[in-house]
């Protein structure tokens, strides 16, 4: 068993209404410590109302090589974007 403290990724919600954003990482031996380390490192200037810490090993990331497969098809589906449709100017609230 490694003597080293595992790595945790930190996500901070700065204000209610906003979503959690990735802020960086900390090393900690357990979840409580990770939360406290995250608080002491990433919210020193009161930049947060909510913190998530996740063991880095638990994060599944998409492969940049698959980017074209995963993300480019969305580029084609222009009909998902409001600008695809023309609505006459005199019609409001749409």
């Amino acid at each position: 068993m490694s003597k080293n403290w595992p790595l945790w990724e930190v996500f901070v919600r700065v204000k209610n209404g906003l979503s959690h954003r990735h802020a960086g990482s900390v090393h900690a031996a357990d979840a409580k410590m990770a939360l406290e380390a995250a608080r002491d490192t990433y919210t020193r200037r009161m930049e947060g109302v909510s913190l998530w810490v996740v063991p880095s090993a638990s994060i599944i990331a998409s492969d940049p090589g698959d980017a074209s497969e995963l993300f480019e098809p969305a580029v084609d589906k222009v009909y998902r974007h409001p600008t695809f449709y023309s609505i006459p100017e005199n019609v409001k609230n749409i």
């Binding site: 403290w5 900390v26 090393h27 900690a28 031996a29 406290e36 002491d40």
Partner: protein, 251 residues
């Protein structure tokens, strides 16, 4: 209006925070892990902030024109009123944590009571501090459990550290005549009433930490009347040097 009792009391509160803040700042750059360095600095900053407010209040109550810096940097040991616990040396990490564990649990209970003090300045300071100290308690309690129920070495060191600090626990819950009058007027907290809840908290955490509650022994006290351990003199020498060596200077 001069109020010598309030002066004394505010010094006790301020000196407790100041001396402990000073001790924690000695760890800066030397902690076992960078993340821990940040925690210590966090706690230290909270304490120095509390000290500043309490000593300012003290200066006002004394009415002799001394501000928080004059009080912090120009009193000698006989006039410092911190408890003996906070001036104890850092020792190793376990000794430091044992000190923090005993003190922060006391301080949280104290500040909760002081939120209803008859003195509005004390209420304001306590209201903010009680949130800060809740975090200090969390940190200290969790570390006691990790160290007590960690490895054989950490357990042994924590037993030692706790044994060092336990001598000074009783002093936290003593009341003398100066404070009696302030208790009567609702300004001060009757710390005797905090003892049983403190005992319960300490006992629970120590049990989780697989540690025994140290056995009772003769009280070592004197801090509140300026009779300190040998450690305070050295601490003040370091802390006060510049202001003493260069009197009448602005910094």
């Amino acid at each position: 209006m001069r109020d010598p009792s309030l002066f004394d009391y505010a010094c006790r509160l301020g000196d407790d925070s100041l001396i402990l803040g000073q001790r924690l700042s000695e760890w800066c750059g030397h902690a076992p892990m960078l993340e821990v360095d940040l925690s210590f600095a966090n706690v230290g900053l909270d304490l120095i902030g509390q000290a500043t407010h309490f000593l300012k209040l003290a200066g006002g109550a004394e009415g002799a024109g001394r501000d928080e810096d004059k009080l912090a940097f120009h009193r000698d040991v006989l006039d410092f009123k911190n408890c003996l616990l906070v001036e104890q040396p850092n020792g190793d990490f376990a000794q430091t944590m044992a000190r923090q564990f005993l003190f922060s649990n006391y301080q949280e209970l104290l500040f909760r009571q002081l939120c209803s003090s008859a003195n509005l300045t004390i209420v304001a300071i306590a209201a903010k501090a009680v949130k800060e100290v809740a975090y200090h308690v969390r940190l200290a309690n969790e570390w006691m459990v990790r160290l007590g129920d960690g490895t054989a070495e950490s357990h042994a060191r924590t037993v030692e550290g706790l044994d060092w600090m336990w001598r000074f626990a009783d002093e936290l819950f003593e009341v003398d005549s100066t404070v009696e009058s302030l208790i009567a007027s609702g300004v001060a907290c009757d710390v005797r009433k905090l003892r049983s809840e403190w005992d319960a908290r300490i006992t629970k955490v120590l049990r989780d930490a697989t540690l025994d509650v140290p056995k009772a022994r003769r009280v070592t006290k004197g801090g509140r009347v300026g009779h300190h351990s040998e450690h305070l003199g050295h601490l003040l020498t370091e802390m006060q040097f510049l202001q003493r060596a260069y009197p009448d200077s602005q910094w």
